[in-house]
Subunit: 197 residues, 2 copies
Amino acid sequence: MSDPQFQKLIQSFSSLPGIGKKSATRIGFHILRMDPTSFQSWIDNIEEAKTKLRFCDECGGLTEEPICSICLSDRRENGILCVVEQPEDIFFIENTKEYSGKYHVLNGAISPLDGIGPEQLRIKQLMNRLDSGQINEVLIATNPTLEGDATASYLSTVIKPMDIKITRIAHGITIGGTLEYSDQYTLGKAIKSRLTL
Amino acid sequence: MSDPQFQKLIQSFSSLPGIGKKSATRIGFHILRMDPTSFQSWIDNIEEAKTKLRFCDECGGLTEEPICSICLSDRRENGILCVVEQPEDIFFIENTKEYSGKYHVLNGAISPLDGIGPEQLRIKQLMNRLDSGQINEVLIATNPTLEGDATASYLSTVIKPMDIKITRIAHGITIGGTLEYSDQYTLGKAIKSRLTL
């Protein structure tokens, strides 16, 4: 059981977010019990997704093409940009069906302790998009955490001189929690009742 | 985000035991963020383990060879056989360092509701091993659940005529729980204070 191959298998799974050693062991045995055909199609699905999926050159969201379908869509509002920390946040907001504008992913939040400042985030790309003059509202949907708040207030400061309305989702999100774990109704309400900063 | 490739990726992970849709989504994005080299070695490790690992022809435990190192070892007691439901249970018992005999994996437990009777388990193989006459104790370490208890009492009935001592780990295991989630000390104590049936 201390077999090095099995250790490597467990290690592969315990390196994934949210999976401890016991869960990794269970998953490892599940993999070993799979018949070779199911296993191969399991591996193939993951490899194919990894090969085909990428992040949008414009907004940073998930896509199979250089520019994602939300950025290319002419059925979405062009004047409003929702700023999120992670590409998966787009997924959670789309799920609420309360937002029809476009997105911008920062790839993180400002966190001095972790050495993450504005330069490490996709803020320059955001400013370039705002410079185009087509955007009249920026909806900040960073997480209601220390880092998310710091990012929101930084963005608010740098965008303010540009004569663009700045809003932030506000209602219903538990303080200290993350966007990912809000249910879609709470998150939808938070978008509806956003406050002007 | 409703991208079919991404859905397939999430599906691959949510099909694993103990992983729900939200965890699968987080893992999916983790995979997409991995650099291609790390991803390839992650995939390679899993594929290599799946190819090299198999179940022992003798005891049913995890091994890279036809017969596992525990079955082949001459430093382990040959007269005692510990019967477990799953190959991973060997791992948990080895971890206690309280047992030095050999093992026999049933690959499940008797469960009439799921259509699992003695014929679906590796009980015939167990009886063949007992017929060799070398075994003087069978330590039943099935889980303390309805199915595990049913299996233990079935085994006790069929082994009794053979003049073999039958014991069962007893102390400290939470009723209704599973071997997997016992800590190693409780499980070790349970092995030490086993009761003759």
